[in-house]
């Protein structure tokens, strides 16, 4: 509400000025007010919060210059990487109205944070900071910024930019309630100790190695924004190119058509251990192509360098033809090991039928996921073995799925008292049919569910499909009105989460994520120790036990996972021998952080000589060996 009213007020002011010049005085007064630069108030610190005025004694400064590098030394700098976007951004501001659109990624990835995580070892690595330390209160972080760090206009990055960042993010001028709230509620204090040493205090204690993910944030260029902090900051900075700290900066904006970013030749971090040999193209050209299929046609013509081919239709049907057969376009299938969305059937244990664990087990054994995978999913998906997956050592790999087995399902259902079958073959107990409603929100999942439904009938259980639109299906689940919720939770971060999904504090009441309404005092204790513990070994052991308990309770039937990326690229776009890292989400993303934290992007390069050779070969009709690469280094099994 506040956001829209501010925007409208801004527009109204501009409009008045243009249309009614004779009302001069009023307008001038207004626009003067709008253009008056505000002095941002000092950072307020709530009672009980606050960092010490001096650096605490006994801080242990850590860094990481020993983990293996993951970029290829063969990488060549140069060339233009041509890619597309589905729509033109409404602004190139970093925050504020409309800033969360299609171009937010490329902008944000070029605003570095103090640390990122190693894409293979998952340990913190330096980014804008060289060293870090953890405060004794368990919720504060101290960083030493790299003195070499520069904004793109050459101004050094200092602690003042951090102080300013919090003032800026808390200010009303940016019209960004989410940021206002986050930098007040989650980030409690920030302090400058010298030009390059800062402290950040978060809201709650967190495990040490996760604190960067939870509380670290990037600086905001004070010298750029301070003179612009007027009432109409939002309008004034819509198309202003803000200084950044990453490898690329916007060099050309052709509104509605293209945005070009250029590599900084003298980027301050060119020779940093984990950033060398990366971000290789000189230019990245984002072109607006409003339809995916049209973009694909541009790709096949050679007007775009790469294209994502994860969707079965593209990989199997469209990505075929002379360009592929002649080896001009390469197809990559790369398995990664990222946090996997928790896709599953969440069984509401408040339902009288599903309250019986034997029914839940029987149901799991009656679901023929393999048949769905082999047929409509074209063998492309894998079965998800556990509730949460893709968190490295946290994963419990000892759990195996309850496989499709009618005999086992029959035995469980018989045992639960559903031993009679009605005239339609569905089991009955005391007049109650073994019929369960599956609530889901994705129309294209219907074809998966109809197969499960037909197969489940063999075990005498009926699935009644309830397709709702996306938001109301989620609403139904949040209100716990579902019997079986067919859905998927996004996964991010470094470790799995159990409290929101399985703690009894969230059971039996609406608007929580405990969709199974699962409540188990023993599990509650474990979850609380898991949350409180900051010892990695202990946390891993607890996560394994918790995952096992989830499996033993049978309240979630995990469904599918897509543990890979599939992409097509013209022959001249080169990748390291190892293609990507453990956590690479997209092979040809020029700057991406995967899962929000892993520094995995920008490993590819454009080989100009190869490009010439390929174009010549195409003119002469010469063919190369077809290029189809599959990498299973990080495949789980």
């Amino acid at each position: 509400m506040a956001r829209t009213s501010m925007v409208y007020r801004g527009i109204a002011i501009m409009g008045l000025g243009a249309l009614a010049a004779c009302q001069g005085e009023v307008d001038e007064a207004q626009s003067e007010a709008a253009s008056r630069v505000a002095v941002l108030p000092p950072i307020e610190v709530a009672e009980g919060d606050g960092l010490p005025d001096e650096l605490p004694a006994g801080l242990v400064w850590e860094t990481n210059d020993t983990d293996p590098t993951f970029a290829s030394p063969d990488a060549k700098r140069g060339g233009t990487f041509r890619t597309s976007m589905l729509s033109f951004p409404l602004t190139i501001r970093r925050v504020g109205p409309d800033s969360n659109g299609s171009f937010a990624g490329p902008l944000r990835y070029n605003q570095l944070g103090p640390v990122t995580y190693h894409p293979n070892t998952r340990r913190p690595i330096p980014s804008l900071a060289t060293h870090w330390a953890y405060g004794p209160d368990g919720r504060s972080l101290y960083y030493r910024l790299n003195p070499k760090a520069r904004w793109s206009d050459g101004v050094p990055v200092t602690a003042d930019d951090y102080i300013f960042a919090v003032k800026f993010m808390r200010s009303k001028q940016i019209v960004a309630p989410w940021y206002n709230n986050y930098y007040t509620e989650r980030i409690r204090d920030v302090k400058r100790y010298d030009d390059h040493t800062i402290g950040i205090q978060g809201a709650d204690p967190k495990p040490l190695h996760e604190m960067h993910y939870q509380y670290a944030f990037g600086p905001v260029p004070k010298h750029f924004h301070e003179p612009r902090m007027t009432e109409d900051w939002v309008q004034a900075t819509n198309w202003e190119i803000e200084p950044n700290t990453g490898p690329y900066q916007i060099s050309k904006v052709d509104k509605g058509k293209t945005i070009e970013m250029s590599r900084k030749a003298d980027w301050w971090a060119n020779d940093e251990r984990y950033l060398r040999h990366r971000f290789n193209p000189d230019k990245i050209r984002y072109r607006v192509i409003r339809e995916l299929n049209v973009a694909y046609q541009h790709f096949v013509k050679g007007e775009l360098d790469t294209f994502g081919l994860v969707l079965p239709l593209y990989w199997h049907e469209k990505a075929r033809g002379p360009e592929y057969d002649a080896g001009y376009i390469a197809k990559y299938w790369f398995y990664n090991d990222l946090p996997v969305p928790s896709a599953g059937m969440y069984l509401n244990t408040e339902n009288p039928i599903l309250a019986d664990a034997r029914v839940r087990f029987g149901l799991a054994h009656a679901m023929n996921f393999d048949r769905v995978i082999e047929t409509v999913l074209r063998g492309d998906y894998d079965r998800m073995p556990t509730f949460q997956l893709g968190f490295g050592d946290y994963d419990n790999r000892l759990i195996t799925v309850r496989e499709f087995d009618i005999d086992k399902a029959n035995a469980y259902f018989d045992d639960a008292g559903y031993s009679e079958r009605g005239g339609d073959g569905i089991r009955v107990r005391d007049g109650q049919r073994l019929s369960l409603r599956v609530t889901y929100g994705a129309p294209h999942h219907t074809e998966r569910l109809v197969i499960l439904r037909e197969e489940a009938r063999k075990a005498g259980v009926e699935l009644e499909l309830q397709l709702l639109d996306g938001s109301s299906s989620f609403k139904t689940m949040q209100e716990k009105k579902h019997e079986i919720a067919w859905m998927s939770w996004a996964s991010q971060g470094l470790s799995p989460r159990y409290w929101e999904h399985f703690h009894s504090a969230n059971a039996g009441k609406p608007q929580t994520n405990n969709l199974a309404n699962h409540a188990n005092p023993e599990m509650d204790d474990l979850i609380m120790s898991f949350r409180a513990s900051s010892d990695l070994e202990e946390r891993i052991a607890l996560a394994h036990r918790l995952e096992q308990m989830v499996h033993d309770a049978g309240v979630v039937i995990p469904t599918f996972q897509v543990p890979y990326t599939r992409e097509g690229a013209w022959r001249w776009v080169k990748l390291p021998e190892w293609l990507g890292t453990r956590t690479t989400g997209a092979l040809f993303n020029p700057h991406r952080l995967s899962a929000g934290i892993f520094s995995s992007g920008g490993l590819f390069w454009i080989d100009e000589a190869e490009k010439e050779r390929t174009l010549e070969a195409m003119d002469e009709g010469m063919a190369f060996e077809p290029l189809a690469v599959m990498n299973i280094d990080y495949r789980a099994d």
């Binding site: 082999e374 047929t375 005239g423 109809v450 397709l467």
Partner: protein
């Protein structure tokens, strides 16, 4: 007795005469029927539609995964209607419904003399006939008896079409019934009583007509799963208004005619005036609208199914098939089948409608001299 030898109407009438003399068809009706019959396109369409309806009513005997007859160890089984027969009955090792196609293969491979008679299309509208390693949709094939191929989950297109047709037609017919009963009742009342009642309902109908019907369906579908009867309720709620205007004007017109005045003078109650005098004389209006209402009922259901707001999956439905067809243009048998079927049915219904309208057109009998 006016019965003409060889005339269907005549025979029907003579039968009716004997059973219930009161239902004697009046000469006008006979004229209308003859007129209808003489419009060949409409007449044959009516016959075609009748056959299609009859066949779809008995679809279980023609398109079904259950066998028509199984002869096993000397006993005969008729699984088509009634409870499911578990596989164990026929010596198979499972308790769920027998897979009769496999049973047939098994019996013909063995020499025990058992046999299975399957319907011409041995699939029902729900089962997924899938082969591992080959991805649906499968193309039409006589060998596999998927005469029009399968959809994206391996369900037989013929079965989906036939059962979808039956459902859509039933839906349209019930919808028609409800709309007409409410529409005629209120329309007549408006015309008959006039005044405040008329004014009130005019406004109510105007309001209802201005509510975007599709949005209501979308809103309903987003909150609950619209079943057969919920959809029906929503569509009746907005659909009955159509008939009211016509009935209102006809009633106004008929009400001032001499025969109604005469009836009133003789002391006939309002109910009697409307039911026995006015409605029978506006029947041509009603009858003319029937076929077109059926057509619009079928298209409406197909359209909302196509958009995904209709009957819940996996109900066989033309709209759902059509949306699969548009998403899988590389499998033209899906979209092609449903488009052809739909065009045929709607053409036939429309031809019937045209013929009915023409047959009932009073101008036919007006001559200017």
């Amino acid at each position: 007795m006016i019965a003409k030898a060889g005339s269907l109407v005549g025979r029907t009438r003579s039968v009716l005469d004997r059973v219930a003399p009161a239902t004697r068809l009046n000469p006008l009706t006979i004229k209308q029927w003859q007129r209808f019959k003489s419009i060949r396109r409409g007449y044959w369409s009516a016959i075609g539609l009748g056959i299609a309806l009859l066949l779809s009513a008995g679809a279980e005997l023609l398109v079904n995964s259950r066998a028509l007859v199984v002869s096993y160890q000397g006993d005969w089984y008729f699984p088509t209607y009634g409870d499911y027969i578990p596989g164990r009955t026929f010596g198979l090792d499972y308790d769920y419904e027998t897979n009769y196609r496999e049973l047939k293969r098994m019996f013909s491979a063995s020499s025990a003399g058992d046999w299975v008679l399957m319907p011409p299309v041995p699939y029902d509208a729900f089962e997924n006939d899938l082969e591992a390693g080959v991805y649906p949709p499968y193309a039409p094939s006589v060998a596999s008896r998927h005469f029009l191929g399968t959809d994206t989950t391996g369900r037989d297109v013929v079965a989906r079409l036939v059962y979808g047709f039956r459902l859509a037609f039933t839906f349209a017919a019930i919808l028609l019934g409800c709309n007409f009963v409410i529409g005629i009742a209120i329309g007549c009342a408006m015309g008959f009583w006039g005044g405040a009642f008329d004014l009130l309902f005019q406004r109510v109908i105007e309001i209802l007509n201005n509510v975007p019907f599709l949005y209501v369906i979308m809103i309903v579908a987003s909150v609950i799963v619209p079943g057969f009867w919920t959809l029906m309720a929503v569509m009746v709620f907005f659909g009955w208004t159509g008939m009211t205007w016509y009935m209102r004007t006809s009633t106004y017109k008929e009400k001032s005619r001499e025969y109604v005045l005469a009836a009133r003078a003789l002391g006939a109650s309002s109910k009697r005036q409307v039911a026995s005098h006015i409605i029978p004389n506006t029947i041509s209006v009603i009858v003319t609208f029937i076929p077109f209402s059926i057509a619009s009922g079928i298209t409406a259901l197909t359209a909302i199914d196509y958009l995904g707001f209709g009957l819940p999956p996996p109900t066989p439905s033309w709209g759902e098939l059509l949306s699969q067809g548009t998403r899988h243009l590389e499998s033209p048998w899906i979209g092609g089948s449903v488009v052809v079927a739909m065009v045929l049915v709607l053409l036939m219904v429309t031809y019937v409608g045209e013929a009915v309208r023409e047959a009932f057109d009073p101008k036919q009998f007006t001559y200017y001299e």
